[in-house]
Point group: C2
Chain length 205, copies 2
DNA sequence: CGTGTAATTGAATGCAGTCAAACGAAGTGG
DNA sequence: CCACTTCGTTTGACTGCATTCAATTACACG
């Protein structure tokens, strides 16, 4: 689902600039509305028992964040935090729900989005439980390429590790392997994918 | 979401008996409708690369299965299979979608259910990536107790392992530990929980 | 230019997976 | 009714992947 499906409700929008590493909402807080990313990138993550982040999703410009919790009456289970400077607009809960009631197109988009995300998560679970870190990293690069499209992936080693679901040290060792195998190219934080086919092969299925 | 929210559409229902280990639908097939469990229990799982099952959810009497895929235009990504003799009714895709258009209550129930499942999956992911098998088994028992309520859990060792996301042998070793610690009681396939507090403690968070 | 944070490398440990074999239960057919 | 088969369960031994801890190096930012 994309922001532009909400374009006809400009009136309700409140746009705001966020610095890097600022949070939109915190795990445990009560949902007040949805966030639409005009510019920038946002990571959504959960914290495990010892505080380690598990990144669930990375949302980019055009995407909407935080609407799942509108339909639960429960607090956010994830934290949303910008990965870079961003411009994000906010739509209040009541406004959004009213819009959904009035607008069948939006409604269908929401349902479809929820379904897609649900499928993504289920794949994620199976990957997590059955694949090696190496395989998961390959899979993660495939996902990240869809997000970063043509520009190089730009994440800290820690964020990358927290997306793959591994330790930072393990991730770094694997980056080296991939680099030596000619699959990726690394310039400090920026990672470019050189051989997508090989990644798909490693990721399996 | 529960079947009885669909009770007013008895006309559309087609009820049918299923034997144990029969499938309602297969991964890769095209969704034709939703399944409402009157009696019995159903496991939903995905197969990994080497064919190993990852159980995503276990649905019991009263619950609805298979509606997520109605809103994707993509094939099922999971297989649904009965865990015991079951009576299940089927509601065709068109009927169900029409009902949703006409009935705001049903619509809200669907959205809420999707949201809840999404939250469940996200917790699942974080558990998978950050917890030990022992912790996950404890967590799995908490979930299973909510499904089996007062009767003992009744699953094959393999299904249990595939729900926890581990090897059957590892699961068996942990069952022995839990038994020796007085947390559970085991009679062949039937497992009863003796100490829920301890399970919660082990599961963490 | 110094200081803190991120990234990297090394070494050691251990959790959990795999393989192999033995055992048990449930059913099948002679 | 018993031998036989089959499948699920259990136990043992081994291996290795990945984590953790510790130490060092690189880098970004004030």
């Amino acid at each position: 689902m994309y922001c532009d499906e909400l374009d006809h409700v400009q009136a309700h929008k409140v746009s705001r600039n966020f610095k890097k590493n600022q949070s939109l909402f915190l795990e445990g807080a009560s949902p007040r509305g949805v966030y639409c990313i005009n510019e920038g990138m946002v990571k959504l993550f959960q914290r495990g028992d010892e505080g380690k982040e598990q990144i669930i999703r990375i949302a980019k410009a055009g995407e909407i964040v935080g609407f799942k919790s509108l339909f639960n009456e429960i607090p956010y289970q994830v934290t949303a935090e910008t990965l870079e400077e961003s411009n994000i607009c906010f739509i209040g809960k009541e406004d959004f729900l009213d819009m959904m009631d009035a607008n069948p197109i939006l409604r269908k988009a929401v349902i479809k989005e929820l379904s897609h995300e649900l499928s993504d998560r289920e794949d994620f679970i199976t990957n997590m439980s059955q694949k090696s870190v190496r395989e998961r990293l390959a899979f993660t690069f495939i996902i990240l390429q869809k997000i970063y499209v043509k520009e190089p992936i730009n994440l800290s080693r820690e964020d990358l590790a927290n997306f793959v679901g591994t330790a930072t040290e393990t991730l770094i060792r694997l980056l080296k392997d991939f680099k030596e195998e000619g699959i990726i190219e690394v310039h400090t934080r920026k990672i470019s994918i050189l051989n997508k086919e090989k990644l798909l092969f490693i990721a399996g299925k």
